[in-house]
Amino acid sequence: MGGGRIKAFGNYHPIVLFTYFVSVIVTVMFSVNPVIAGCALIGGVSFCAVLQKGRVFLQSMAFYLPLFLIIALTNPLFSHNGATELFFLNGRAVTLESILYGINMAVMLVAVIYWCKCYNEIVTSDKFLYLFGRIIPKLSLVLSMAIRFIPLFKAQMKKISRAQKAMGLYSSDRFGDRLRSGIRVFSALVTWSLENAAETGNSMRARGYGLKGRSSYSVFRFRKGDGILIGVSLALLAAVFIGTGLGKTDFDFYPETTKIPCSPVAIITYISFGILAFLPFFLEVKEEFKWKYYISKI
């Protein structure tokens, strides 16, 4: 999946996307509840699976699965709280509760990591700059200039390095030589870029940057669909916050694990969060089917 088509979820307005990701990540990190953490993990991983190419996704799995196990299994080594002793290791009790706590922590952490991965795929730097352009106009101009400079400097660095190679400078593979050639290239890049920058700054001033009445170009338009999505996600978030705020989903690991709360309010909270967490996944899958359907008609 993924690949060919533009991402359905990424088409929404940056404000909608940012609100969505912040509310999911905040909820996951706030709540101490295994159901919510589990929903977030499965939702995040499946969303990520739709967004990324198969191989990239599997590679990340190969990295995060061991990480998951490490976090889950090391907790009993550092924490000896809990009432149910399973066995003793070096005279210290390994408790059931600390293992469960470790697993819950691991679920939460890996969930947040996967949500951040999805965030990186969806909220690209141009959307980020659009969002913060009004709050921090100067800094976001600095940011966008810096982001543009990076590929420019990289290209320039290649040119300098080729020129130096052609002159036969530091061409061996020894550590010292590579370091020195790196420094040399970098130093030339610094001179070039600073001189360039001062010129650009003068040019900007000459064209009246910083005068009043500056307008800004934006490719993002707030459509009806954006309003619906932001409304739905805020409503779901409110439901989750009310549920957790009332303490209906509280869960304790120490000294003994409590039962998973199953009151009606708790269930409503779980369902709201479940919908919230799987929303982008469903949107992507729906769009994928639509795409396949239209393709098949051609």
Partner: protein, 230 residues
């Protein structure tokens, strides 16, 4: 005046408020949360000061160049794992262009490089850690410019500081509380990388500080940017 009030308001009122709120309202996992909020809030005064201040286009663009250079530096030396000049460039920026530029260069470098390497809850910590290193470099700039030994020591300490801050973060993150045992384990497991950080900071500062500093001074004199009395 307003700028100063805002600065002190954030440092003296908002940060303690966040800590208290965190301690009373959210019983568990408060530490990770509170630490993220504090790291972000401590960047706010610098951002606000830059937005409010009279910074010309050249100041802005030089800041952008320094930030981009520190990120590109990660690629320039990519053949040496963990051997990166980011801290060194942030420190040089602080030494020669002042505290504000140093802090912002550090914070923005962290933000931008995470656009490439992945944003996450660790971003505010990196922003804060590098920002502070740039700021302190500006405060010590006279000493750092005078003696290469002091410069080296600062590089080594900066590497250790960065590593410890990130270990504090990963402890809070993985445990929900500050578990001293896990912190110790993190410190030990990160030790080889910490050593590389410290060494690379010292090496890059020794090799880059003088030439880059000369270039920065030349450009600031030539175009009259970042001069105290202009």
């Amino acid at each position: 005046m307003g700028k100063k009030i805002l600065k002190y308001f954030i440092i003296l009122a908002c940060i303690p408020a966040v800590i208290f709120l965190g301690a009373f309202i959210f019983s568990e996992k408060q530490y990770a949360w509170v630490s993220i909020a504090v790291a972000l809030l401590s960047c706010v005064p610098f951002f606000a000061a830059f937005e409010k201040g009279r910074s010309g286009t050249q100041k802005m663009i030089i800041l952008a160049v320094m930030t981009a250079l520190s990120v590109v530096g990660r690629f320039a030396f990519s053949f040496l794992p963990h051997f990166k000049p980011v801290t060194a460039i942030v420190v040089i920026c602080g030494m020669y262009l002042g505290g504000e530029a140093g802090f912002l260069c550090g914070a923005l470098s962290a933000l931008i490089s995470n656009f490439m390497f992945g944003q996450g809850p660790w971003t505010p910590f990196q922003m804060f850690a590098w920002g502070i290193l740039g700021l302190i470099a500006a405060l010590l700039s006279k000493l750092l410019k005078k003696s290469k030994i002091v410069l080296c020591i600062y590089g080594v300490l900066a590497g250790a500081f960065y590593s410890v801050i990130m270990d504090v973060w990963s402890t809070l993150w993985a445990d929900g509380t500050f578990n001293i045992l896990r912190f110790g384990a993190n410190l030990v497991s990160a030790f080889p990388v910490t050593i590389i950080y410290m060494a690379s900071n010292a090496v890059f500062l020794l090799l880059l500080a003088k030439p880059m500093g000369n270039k920065l001074e030349r450009i600031t004199v030539k175009y009259g940017i970042y001069q105290k009395k202009a």
